[in-house]
């Protein structure tokens, strides 16, 4: 590509006299503009302080489910990692997989008072967790809690033995009968320690 001479340029080829005048007059004043950063720094400091106060190192153990409103309580014990049973207004899921619909469970009048599909999944999970605990495939502090539990020593919050531990994340408007069925099913499968997820007041 051949090299060509430069085209028209501002102030040289195109005479913008008014602009030249303006630039000339501005040059007589200081060209530095000092921004007042004090409010910005104040706001940042307040924001960082607030965010540090609400910061949770444990992260989110529960997944947000659309339309699920947790019951409120004044309990302050922190949650810990465990299999999660989610009960929304229409569905029961275990570890994110649909187990049954609320309507079908409420219609079921079986005398065993259990949810069979949920029992199968919980039973398999309970066996796996028990095996993990037996072979020491869990965190050391949790294994210690399992030993303490045999001697009826209460574990600290968030350090409950994972053997037989599950989380129930149910909507606040869930029928008590359905909760009874889920608790009964969990108990039959070997989950004799349930954590009811609640929202802090």
């Amino acid at each position: 590509m051949p090299i060509q001479s430069a085209g028209p340029r501002l102030y040289r080829s195109v005479k913008f006299k008014h602009l030249v005048r303006g630039a000339g007059s501005a040059a007589s004043r200081a060209s530095n503009i000092s921004l007042n950063l004090t409010p910005f720094v104040d706001m940042m400091t307040i924001l960082v302080t607030f965010l540090l106060m609400v910061f949770s190192a444990s992260g989110e153990l529960l997944q947000a489910v659309k339309g699920l409103e947790l019951p409120t309580a004044q309990a302050h014990d922190t949650l810990q990692q465990a299999p999660v049973i989610i009960v929304t207004k229409s569905e029961i899921t275990y570890q994110g997989q649909l187990v049954a619909t609320v309507d079908s469970v409420m219609r079921d009048d079986s005398p065993t008072y259990k949810i069979d599909a949920l029992f199968e999944r919980l039973d398999a999970a309970a066996k796996k967790i028990r095996e993990d605990v037996a072979y020491g495939r869990q965190a050391k502090d949790l294994l210690k809690s399992c030993e303490d539990a045999k001697q009826n020593i209460r574990p600290p919050a968030g350090k409950i033995c994972p053997d037989g531990l599950a989380i129930l994340q149910a909507d606040e408007s869930t029928d008590g009968q359905l909760i009874n069925k889920i608790v009964n099913t969990a108990k039959a499968a070997g989950f004799d320690n349930l954590l009811f997820a609640v929202k802090n007041k």
Binding site: L37, V54, A75, D175, G176, N193, F196
Partner: protein
Amino acid sequence: MAASIGTDDKKSVNIELNIVPFIDLMSCLTSFLLVTAVWVNIAQINIQPKGKSRDQAQVQQDDERVILSVLLQSDRIWVGLSRVNEFQEIPKKGDQQDWERFETTLKEHKSSTFFNDRTDLEIAAESTAAAPVKYQDIVHAMDIAVRAGFQDVGLSDPQGLAARPTL
């Protein structure tokens, strides 16, 4: 006495601090904290499923101890003692359960000789299609029980309560 730092004017008493690194740090920290913030503070109530299941044979309780049982119904709460067979009925106040009286009752039981060294209690909800009991009420009852000193709350089937009122 005063130093003029960052200015060309030797007589100036203004000190200019370089706040650029501070703003950089604050911006990074704010972005990180905003991304990792947990806005809903979730806690837990620890419960143990208790009592007999419906498919288990109804056998006589061989527990020598008195057990404090709470039965939640849609229009009242029953607080009962097994073996003694004493029941207190707490009717609904307005459109809500009388939680204040329930808490007072539990605290009275906690200070009694039966339970002053114990922390166990069993709760059951009798919910029917005509008279449903909501999960929020069950959680509220458990929360109150924990506050009253009964940390070992057990959720039982209404049929499996140690002390069940006969209506």
